[in-house]
């Protein structure tokens, strides 16, 4: 998320990583959705649950472009290698001075965790990252806009956002929503050794029931794009 609050966080993590030689590269994730009509209720509840309940939640407006890096000339073979690597570039539309974020997320790990566990790497980059990726051979796969609220509770990042299509004749203000719902995501970065934070995540998720059913859903099971 290209936000003011994440930049110092990234700086700190880089420093701590250099110091401790530990990079939190695992992400626990829980996703759910809430209909637009009930959004206010969910935001109020989250405000109460998360830190800084006295200030209105921070909004973000991001434009994410996803590149796919794979060998496009090779014949399609089954298996994960042929699917390529998905690289996500996010920029903050409302804060153009912030650096872009390059993100790699891996596949969800197997195992009986309370939340979805996957490899995740976040890197702030300069604005010419797209050219760079294209020089590497990555192709633009898809892009979208995400607009919503971000809150945090301790180490847990809570985002509630709506995804918009970016297409022909689209300006920043003329966006077409994908669904009539907002996406609710709870995520926390951790290392392979510290798995206890998933219980906190699950506890927070349970607080949002029955408004939002947060669960770990593997997107690969939802069919090919």
């Amino acid at each position: 998320m290209a936000l003011p609050m994440s930049v110092p966080h990234v700086g700190e993590t880089i420093e701590s990583a250099i110091k401790n030689q530990i990079v939190p590269d695992q992400e626990f994730l829980l996703q759910g959705s809430v209909l637009d009509t009930s959004l206010g209720v969910v935001i109020d509840r989250l405000r109460g649950l998360c830190d800084n309940a006295d200030i209105p939640p921070e909004t973000f407006h991001d434009h994410e472009v996803v590149y796919l890096l794979k060998d496009f000339n090779a014949p399609v073979t089954p298996g994960p290698a042929a699917q390529g690597v998905m690289l996500r570039v996010r920029r903050a539309v409302d804060h153009p001075e912030l650096p872009y974020q390059l993100r790699y997320v891996g596949y969800p790990e197997l195992g009986n965790y309370p939340a979805l566990l996957r490899n995740c790497l976040d890197v702030p980059v300069s604005s010419n990252v797209c050219e760079f990726l294209q020089e590497l051979g990555a192709k633009l796969d898809h892009e979208f806009m995400a607009k919503g609220y971000i809150m945090k509770k301790g180490r847990i990042k809570v985002t509630v956002f709506k995804m918009y299509k970016v297409g022909a004749g689209m300006s920043k203000d003329n966006l077409e929503p994908l669904t009539m719902s907002h996406m609710v995501e709870l995520s926390v970065l951790t290392t392979k050794t510290d798995m206890s934070v998933a219980d906190d995540l699950r506890a927070l998720a349970d607080q949002l029931k029955p408004l939002v059913q947060l669960e770990r859903m593997d997107y690969r099971r939802l069919g090919p794009p």
Partner: protein, 239 residues
């Protein structure tokens, strides 16, 4: 049904208590009158009267209480009509009522209806005698059909209302599983967003150019698949 029975029992107990109180105070009054005769104390009489009136008032209040079932809707039937003295009744009423018979309770045991009710009953019977048996049967059938129809209407209406209130008291739907899946698929794989098959000519988003031009670049990129003319027309920076 059980609730109604319990409510009925509770109401009857309460009414019985009140009636017993009234009876006690009436008895006191009678004794007082008999004992003291004409030299009786008028204020004490007034006291007794006020006690009795208060008790009658509470009895009335009890009968009008909303928790009391509507006693008018209930029928009491005598199970046994016997002119012989009933010992249990004697004991219960302290020797005053030997048998529950017409002498004691003429109004309760009467079977003849009121005059105007009786008149209407006779008129109906006369009308009934005139009508032919077949037409009567047909009318009965039609009547039954109409009543059944009305009952069906009422039942369906009731079911609709009940399900409506039940679903309204249930939590209104705040999240949809389908939408969740659609969103997760979109976030994970890009499902739902236009997938560009052709590589974009100019670099799509990230140049050193200010944002408005980035947007026009986006427009060009995204429109490539559908409207090539428009793309080349819009984008001034191509090649």
């Amino acid at each position: 049904m059980q609730r109604e029975e319990r409510a009925m029992d509770a109401a009857l107990d309460a009414i019985l208590q009140r009636v017993v109180d009234i009876k006690g105070s009436l008895q006191e009054l009678v004794v007082k009158v008999e004992r003291e005769g004409e030299q009786a104390d008028w204020p004490s009489y007034l006291n007794s009267f006020s006690v009795i009136s208060a008790q009658i008032y509470t009895l009335m209040k009890l009968l009008k209480n909303e928790k009391t079932p509507i006693l008018r809707n209930y029928l009491t039937l005598p199970l046994q009509l016997n002119a012989d003295p009933d010992e249990k009744l004697l004991v219960a009423t302290e020797g005053r009522v030997p048998s529950f018979s017409h002498d004691f309770v003429p109004n309760m045991l009467r079977t003849k209806p009121e005059p105007d009710v009786e008149q209407r009953h006779l008129a109906l019977e006369a009308k009934m005698a005139q009508v032919n048996a077949d037409t009567a049967q047909k009318q009965i059938n039609v009547h039954n059909k109409v009543v059944k129809h009305v009952m069906d209407l009422v039942n369906t209406a009731r079911e609709e209302w009940e399900t409506e209130t039940a679903s309204r008291t249930n939590q209104p739907q705040t999240c949809s599983i389908n939408e969740t899946q659609a969103l997760i698929a979109a976030l994970g794989t890009g499902k739902g967003f236009k997938i560009r098959t052709q590589p974009p000519g100019p670099s799509p988003t990230m140049t050193q150019q200010p944002p408005p031009q980035i947007n026009t670049a986006n427009k060009a990129v995204s429109a490539v698949k559908t409207n090539i003319k428009a793309a080349t027309a819009i984008h001034p920076y191509s090649r």
